[in-house]
Point group: C2
Chain length 117, copies 2
DNA sequence: TGTACATATGAACATATAGTAATATAAAAG
DNA sequence: CTTTTATATTACTATATGTTCATATGTACA
């Protein structure tokens, strides 16, 4: 019953996370968190190919993360919601702590190889 | 300058998001947020195959999201940090709002064709 | 020891994904 | 109208990913 619904919700959210699971898309989002930018501006700031940036933007627009505005010949992209970047930062904080915890304990993978014989 | 470093950070974080970008992994994390569980318990709660659950758990352990404890014949998995699930919930909230915004406005793709006078 | 149970791992497959070059569209400038 | 600039799209390739079955490992216990 609600298990089915839960599955559907998590499938949706997994897609959302998948949208965030590319370094170039994160860099684009980070740029857009400073304010709207045209494709060209993004290309110059990030050093990526035009078709590459366009594709990432198209995906993110399709999934509602960014919105567009035409201004003359350019198309300006912006974050659909500032909280997108804020949420990413929160996630990054948690992730950083995980990594630190791992490194300080380091009884993580090493336990394994040390035990091997 | 620190552009190189920024890239590295976002590449790392992209991998972290990628770990969250699978519905079954999210379901597992959701289960573990209630407390530790053995592989078998997860299988029964989620209705997934044993090898499938094991593989997802192995990936998440490798990436520091979950930790393990052996108890008799079972291996108990738990979240390495409760905040993992909290951060996911925050992300889900933002995502839900995005979807709602999209549905209510629905001037989403249409802006394009409407704007071109 | 041998058997049952819990979990991990490997091989194989199908599908998804990111990147790129080439081309198409669309607006602005001349 | 033609050219130029900005962006989108397509076709293609290489690689990554999730799932499954079969098998291996490891632990408990008769």
């Amino acid at each position: 019953m609600e298990n089915y619904e839960k599955n559907a919700i998590y499938r949706l959210h997994a897609e959302f996370c998948q949208t965030l699971s590319d370094a170039n898309r994160l860099l684009i989002i980070s740029e857009l968190s400073k304010g709207e930018a045209s494709v060209n501006e993004l290309i110059n700031h990030l050093g990526l190919r035009q078709s590459n940036v366009s594709k990432h933007l198209a995906l993110m627009r399709e999934r509602g993360l960014v919105s567009t505005r035409r201004g003359g010949a350019c198309i300006y992209y912006s974050l659909a919601d500032k909280r997108i970047f804020e949420a990413i930062r929160i996630l990054m904080d948690v992730h950083r702590d995980l990594i630190e915890k791992r490194h300080s304990l380091s009884n993580d993978i090493h336990v394994f190889s040390a035990d091997k014989r």
